[in-house]
Amino acid sequence: MSHPTLEDAHAEPHIVGPKVYGLILLALLCLTALTTGIAFVNLGVFSPIVAIAIAVIKMTLVILFFMHVKYSSRLVMLTVAAGFFTFLVLITMTLSDYISRAWGLW
């Protein structure tokens, strides 16, 4: 049995190529056209929901491929997830305070 080498201790870093970047660029531009187009359709209460859903898809593509998180270590994935979790705590806690201030007064 051979001794582990320095190279074995870490996986070879993944290099993302122009092909993947090109496809992601195309997808992002299509989604931009889509979200602008949908803005002119009357979706009532769903219009902000659809707009934000498309923005979330675009963000996910950027994070996974342009920012290489898909190919990153678990530590980086966990860090990114922690960031969004903390942001959701900010939104949820503030909104729950806002909504409950006048509780029962309506």
């Binding site: 320095l6 870490h10 660029l25 803005a39 979706l43 342009f66 290489h68 903390t86 909104l95």
Partner: protein, 248 residues
């Protein structure tokens, strides 16, 4: 410490004494990969603070839009969707050129890296140029909050389809424009900082930096640039798009 870690450590020690490690490997790291991991972890922690920074602005926008809904709808519809969409496309393409820059640095392609960084600078400047046109429009329309703000466009809308607001309700449009300038202004400030750093990276890359195996600086700047892109991906629909068909 298990035996594998010991072996790796010993090997690092030997490599160090023989001077076999690359010049950019700092002494407190054992391998280049470990250093890379630590540096990118640090960059992500900085980006988390940025999420919370912009998060506060998004939170304020969410609450005030809920509160002064009619004023926010009218004010939002004065923004130009054409310019906003163009700017979104420009910024997305600049993210692509930045990603290509990271690729070229990894491939040790100096010419490609210089081209990618230059294209990113150019697209960043185009974005700021379009933003300047938009800001100037707000100035001529008297839509900048403060003493020179005019409620005229909201009380007597020129487009008959728009709802005419009562003067006191129309005043709340100032809060929309305050948040509009705060959010797009903070985003633009990040762009200005990014473009300044890009000029420094371009200068150093022209001297041969980043294409000899040590790409961490380019990688991490790429993360920053993509983050700024993501902020705009959310600003664009929230400020420009979602108020076209208001609920009444």
């Amino acid at each position: 410490m298990d035996s594998q870690t010991v072996a790796v450590r010993q090997q690092a020690e030997v490599a160090h004494h023989e001077g076999a490690h690359p010049y950019y490997l700092r002494h407190h790291f054992e391998t280049v990969e470990q250093q890379k991991e630590a540096v990118s972890f640090g960059m992500w922690l900085f980006l988390l603070t940025e999420i919370m920074f912009f998060g506060g602005l998004f939170m304020a926008y969410l609450l005030y839009r809920n509160w002064y809904y009619d004023a926010f709808v009218s004010a939002s519809n004065t923004l130009g969707i054409g310019l906003g969409t163009t700017n979104t496309a420009v910024l997305i393409v600049s993210s692509f050129t930045m990603a290509m820059g990271v690729y070229c640095a990894e491939m040790r392609n100096k010419r490609g890296l210089l081209l990618s960084l230059s294209a990113t600078i150019l697209l960043g400047l185009v974005f700021l140029g379009i933003k300047t046109i938009e800001y100037h429009d707000k100035y001529t329309e008297h839509h900048i909050p403060g003493a020179s703000f005019s409620i005229e466009d909201f009380v007597h809308p020129q487009d008959k389809r728009d709802v005419a607001l009562a003067p006191d309700v129309a005043q709340h449009a100032q809060i929309f424009f305050f948040l509009y300038f705060a959010m797009t202004g903070m985003h633009a400030l990040h762009m200005v900082i990014g473009i300044s750093i890009l000029f420094a990276l371009l200068y150093r890359a022209s001297k041969g930096a980043y294409t000899s195996g040590h790409t961490s600086t380019i990688d991490n700047f790429g993360l920053y640039w993509h983050f700024v892109d993501i902020v705009w991906i959310f600003l664009f629909p929230l400020l420009y798009l979602i108020s076209r068909h208001p609920l009444h």
